[in-house]
């Protein structure tokens, strides 16, 4: 994939703190640091996968980037334009270029609207007139995502889960966006349907030259669909690399642990696998561990991990890691770190 120098989406030190209030006066007693200073770029035509466990802030990140949530700090640049605190009115034209696919195909579609109304809504809201009318345009999109255009007047409950997810995808495609943020686009679907939707997303990307940010917890789906992958843990980016590098030589201990935890569908390998057993659960983002947030579960943690936060640095070509004791680091980079 070619990567022109200008990123389509650029996220700089993005933060989102949700206040925790108490008592009658709603005094603020703390904050959930859902996203705590993450930076990355997304280039035109590529797919960035974002993985992490529940509570790591990956969905919040998606909603910040699309400005469904107001960031606490940092910057979001879309095509070089700062949209971090842009008003809804000025943001509206930009929404054509940036759309979102949601996880749950049951709650993300209005049950009282027909498919035609749902997929046609973007035209209505943006005040766009198409050559042969909205209905024709909607039917073309329905066909594009593999739905029967004659189902224009049906309601969401008449469709299966996989078909509803296609309706959701049709809606995001209505205005020919440049970028789509997909938050767990297949996790609510059956295995055989997941593959259909994954293939559809890939076909659409090739056909319409789309840029994707795919947020998912399933590491195998992310590997299949992404060009680059970001790993998040408790609001921080811990590793960001090209797909092949990340999956073949993960450097962050957390990424290693995640990979080894994925069950392998091969009965012969169940006994000879080296599995990294992490202790306990992800800590609460309300009071994340200080310094490196992974140190409470990390088997490589030493004194420094509890006092100093490791910065996200490029240790190999296009491979960024935030760890004091990364694994499989190329020799030169290791020397540079220790120097």
């Amino acid at each position: 994939m070619t990567t022109p120098n200008e990123p389509l989406l650029s996220v700089q030190d993005l933060q989102k703190y949700f206040p925790v209030t108490k008592g009658l006066l709603k005094r603020q007693v703390g904050a959930v640091k859902a996203v705590d200073g993450i930076s990355f770029d997304v280039f035109k035509g590529e797919t960035l996968g974002v993985v992490g466990e529940s509570g790591c802030g990956k969905s919040t990140m998606g909603r910040l980037v699309t400005r469904l949530l107001e960031p606490t700090g940092g910057k979001v640049l879309f095509e070089g334009q700062d949209i971090t605190h842009m008003s809804q009115g000025r943001l509206r034209p930009l929404r054509r270029d940036m759309q979102m696919i949601f996880q749950d195909p049951f709650s993300s579609l209005n049950p009282r609207h027909t498919v035609g109304a749902i997929v046609g809504a973007p035209f209505r809201i943006q005040g766009i007139k198409t050559e042969h009318g909205t209905k024709k345009a909607v039917q073309e999109i329905l066909e594009l995502v593999g739905l029967n255009p004659e189902h224009y007047n049906r309601y969401p409950h008449e469709f299966s889960g996989g078909q509803r997810q296609r309706i959701g995808i049709a809606r995001t495609l209505a205005l020919k966006p440049k970028m789509i943020i997909a938050d767990e686009p297949v996790s609510a679907l059956d295995v055989s349907i997941q593959a259909q939707v994954v293939n559809l997303l890939e076909d659409l990307q090739n056909e319409l030259d789309l840029t994707y940010v795919v947020i998912a917890h399933d590491l195998s789906v992310v590997r299949h669909i992404s060009d680059r992958v970001a790993v998040m843990y408790l609001g921080k980016l811990v590793e960001l690399a090209d797909r092949k590098d990340l999956y073949e030589s993960p450097m962050h201990p957390y990424t290693n642990a995640l990979m080894s935890a994925v069950p392998i569908p091969d009965p012969a390998r169940r006994n000879d696998r080296e599995r990294i057993r992490l202790q306990g659960d992800v800590p609460s983002p309300l009071s994340p561990p200080p310094a490196c947030r992974f140190h409470t579960r990390c088997w490589k943690a030493q004194a420094i991990c509890k006092v100093e936060e490791p910065p996200l640095v490029e240790l190999a070509s296009r491979h960024q890691v935030a760890c004091h004791f990364p694994e499989k680091v190329p020799q030169e980079a290791a020397e540079a770190v220790s120097a």
Binding site: A195, N199, S220, A261, I264, P265, L278
Partner: protein, 341 residues
Amino acid sequence: MSFLELKDLKIHFPTDDGLVKSVDGLTFSLERGSTLGIVGESGSGKSVTSLGILGLHKGGHARISGEIWLDGEELVSASQEHVRGLRGKKMAMIFQDPLSAMHPYYTVGDQIVEAYRIHHSVSKKVARKHAIDMLGRVGIPEPGRRVDAYPHEFSGGMRQRAMIAMALSCDPELLIADEPTTALDVTVQAQILDLMRDLQREFNSALIIITHDLGVVAELSDDILVMYGGKCIEYGAAEDIFYRPEHPYTWGLLGSMPRLDRERTERLMPIKGSPPSLINIPPGCAFHPRCPYSDRTQGKADTEVPALLETEGGHLVRCHLPREERRSLWENEIKPMLETT
């Protein structure tokens, strides 16, 4: 006779829209100390089967026929009270969502104590000590303090552990786990799967694990049963299902799934269409509308329900295609496609 035997079990639900044939003639057996994985998509009847074995459809409007033999006792014809007495001690279940399976008003300890005292006439104090022991066994830190916590005070992984502790508190001989790790993160899922494997070895219980995740099944199961439209369509040892599958649906499941242990494939091979509604199961072979090979059955696919036949040493397949054709399709077309990039 095996420890658990199902013979032609049918569980049908009459509804206003028609008869829902959730389980339609299921036969299998399971020995102590071994694990059966039941795989299928939503609506394939796998959860209804597990509730049926536990007798949880009794007294409802389900129509149940066939036989369930547990340790020499027939359960379909047994009274509700009798089966209730077996639950907990003889057989127990781990549910998918521990938050809704546990009572929010009672502490975790109280709920384990209650289950334990139904089957053992011991004092509350002894039962509480047993509850603390069980929580410790499943890896909950500080069980002496945690025993007095409410379910909402536990994290997802801890709740699932507490539920496993509850299910195991009376040493059940048959344990059914219905999607035990689906709601959990991968790192926690790995912990729970390890735990279940260790505990099963320790207690030598029979384990049925129900899931849609082929990875989870491969980690735990000795035998695998693939369900589709309320019927078993393929059954065999785990190695048969993963290395020599013969049903096109099983091929489809394997092809739909991106795998971390292989080179990345450019393209997934999904099954077309979607799973059938159980009210309106397609005639003939239930899979025929989605099957790429249904035109090779001389018109039998949509008229005749194929029988579940043994192809080799305990490997059963329900398919009209001749055995040789299935094998050559797998060896020459499907397997190379799954393995190449």
